[in-house]
Structures are given as C-alpha cells and as structure tokens.
Point group: C2
Chain length 200, copies 2
Amino acid sequence: MPQVLTAKGRSTRARIVQAAAELVAEKGAAAMSLDDVCERAHVSRSQLYHYFDDRDDLVRAVINATTDSVLLAQDGLLDHLDTWTGLDRWFRALVALQEGREARGGCPIGSLVGQLAERDPGARENLADGFKRWEGHLREGLERMQDRGRLSVHADPASLATSTMALLQGGLLLTQVRRDPKQLRTALAAARVLLRSAAA
Amino acid sequence: MPQVLTAKGRSTRARIVQAAAELVAEKGAAAMSLDDVCERAHVSRSQLYHYFDDRDDLVRAVINATTDSVLLAQDGLLDHLDTWTGLDRWFRALVALQEGREARGGCPIGSLVGQLAERDPGARENLADGFKRWEGHLREGLERMQDRGRLSVHADPASLATSTMALLQGGLLLTQVRRDPKQLRTALAAARVLLRSAAA
DNA sequence: TGGAAATTGGACTAGGTAGTCCATACTCAG
DNA sequence: CTGAGTATGGACTACCTAGTCCAATTTCCA
C-alpha cells in the first residue's frame, strides 16, 4: 500500500472504483469479478492490490462512491426539505427518476443491503453511514420546519425522517420487484400524508 | 426430469430445497454453492439435476419455499387484519420477531430482491408473487374493514396495503443495516398512524 | 540528478464452480 | 416377477475466481 497517492495514482484508483461501481450496479456485488474490473478500468491485476487490500476493501470503496453519487443526484433537493413545496419537489423527482429507468435497479444503496449486510460487517457499516447522511438531510429539514412552527411541537422529526426513509426504500423495493414505478408513487404519497398529519 | 415423483422422490426434493433455502438465508443467494447444498441435504450431485433443471431453477424453488415459510410464520395473524387489534397484534409480532433475531437478516423475501431481481427475470416474478400473496392478506383485511364501516369510504385499501408493505419492507431494511429493531418499530408505528388517518 | 517510493505489467497458483456423464440400485404396476 | 421408469452415487471436465509474486518503469523531491 502506497503512503501517498500521486495525481496519476488518484486517477487510477478512481477509475478502478468507477468501473467496479458500474459492474456492481449492473450485475450485483457477488457477480462483480476482479477480472471484469481490470478490463473495464484498463488496469492490470497488481494495480487492484496496489490500491486496495482485497476484494472486500474494493467493495467498501464502491459503497462509498455509490452513496456519494446517489446524494449528488439529489443535489439541490436535499437542502430544501424544510418546506412543503421542497418535500413535494423531492418526492416528484424520486418518482421521475424511477420512471426514467423503467423501475429497474431499485435503490443503488438499498439493494446492496441484502447483498452485503450479513456478509461483511464493514460493508454494513458503510451502508449504514450512507443512510445516515441521506436521512440526516431530511431530519434536519424537518427540524427546521418545527423550529419555524410548520410542524407540531409534539412531532418527532427523527421518527418522521426514519419513517419517510422506510417508505422510500420499501417503495423502491416494491417498484423494483413489480417493475412498476407507481409503487413508489403510492409509498411517497403516504409519506406526504404522514408528514402532513404532523403539521402544526 | 422424472414424470412422476414417488414419495421418496418428493422427500428428497424437499430436503434439497430446504438445505438450499437455509444456505441462501445464511450466506446469500450468490454464495450458495451446489456442493454445499449436496453436503447439507445428504444427496449426490446428480440428484440435484434429477429434480431441477439448473441452479436458477433451484433458486426459484427456494424463493417459493421461503415465501411459504414466511407466510406460515405469520399464520393466525394474517387472517385477522380486519380489526385494529388484529393489525396491532401483527405489528407487534413482526417487531418481536426482529428483536428475537437481534435485527439480523432483514426480510427473508425482501433481501432477495436486490440479489436476484435484475439477474433472473423468473426469480423476480416469483418474488413478486410472494409479495402479492402477502400484501393480499392485508388488502383483503382492509377491504373488510371498509365494508364494515371502520375505514372511510374515501380510503383506498389497495394503496394503504401497498404503503404498509413499503413501511414494513423499508423498516426491515433499516433494521438490518442499522442492527436496530427500533427502526421497524418506528416504521410500523407510522403505518398505524397512516391507517388510523383513513379510519371512518 | 540520484535514489527512494509510487506505479505498472502480467504470468502463475491453488482452489472452487456449474454442469455432464455413465453406471448402479431401487420401486412399482402389469 | 419383470421391466420400464425413478432414484442415486460419484468421478470428471472445463472454466472462473481471488490472491501472489517478481520484475520493470515512472515519478518526484531532496
């Protein structure tokens, strides 16, 4: 393992993670082979082991990269979850995203849970960190709403954020398994009802 | 492939599916090897291919067996989802189940979605069938409640059932990734709020 | 500019994989 | 009791896998 990465090294490492992330998204974590990664990233075998301890280490890097890209895809939405219109915009964007992919793939992070959580404790923690960051944006938005008196003082922003994330993840799972984006639309409509029921 | 199975044949086939289902639950679908299955079921290689076309065929049989066992584990609860107390009993039982397993494993069906849905279209359909059976019990219960005037005439039992399933699956996913059964408790408490908001 | 560290290439090992094949033993109806 | 179909045993193939190893090349800073 190198002590310091040069610019070239960082670029190679990033290319490896990118290729691995694509393969994980396409074929699943277990079906991603290191040979495939080498081919797609145009690197040799030893470069993988130059930048990563082993396969599990690479998978954990993929989880972090995927989390970053999922949050980036929601950029401009996650910082405005403190108004009803901001929440509705977020919900609509999530549904539109699934319609665009014809309900394929589910949640890039969520679908890794079943694949990795019981297999590699480190991977489970990385996935949990990803969900924490995601849910954190929502919880903070709801807290700001409560501060501004838009949410009842009896409401619990943390629980509401957790329940909304559950509806989102469950809705994505049902969307994926049924190949029907309406499943997510229904779940997020329920999230809207739930949040409104906590309005001041 | 045999035309008719003898009693002995049925027993052997069931032993194979049982062993495979255990391994899938323990190690994930991709990590279940046919050698492992042979060893655990005490059968030889050729017996697998005597009763199943190939690996995918066995996995689909595992999905069906797992669905049956998940529904069986809720026996006595799923037929009483037409009263508030019946719903609460169901919710409490689901939480207790996760507490009993220390939040490990998530939903035996749900966690297979991310592993198989994009890989094998037939597996995806089998999983969708499983969810349909499960959700069907809830939808029918809610319909009976509506018929009896316990649910608003404006409520949509099908959407409520879908949203509740989303909360259940999402809650299980968060429970698994965070190793915390409270995540499911929170999600199901939200389901209760959602259903109550549709009360007559 | 010299040399230590970072980067790269690619062959190689050891083990696991799904699936095939052929022979044998069993079962049960006619 | 016999023979056609069912059930079983286990070796074998061809391939893919993660990980190792040694050597060569490039980078960069002291």
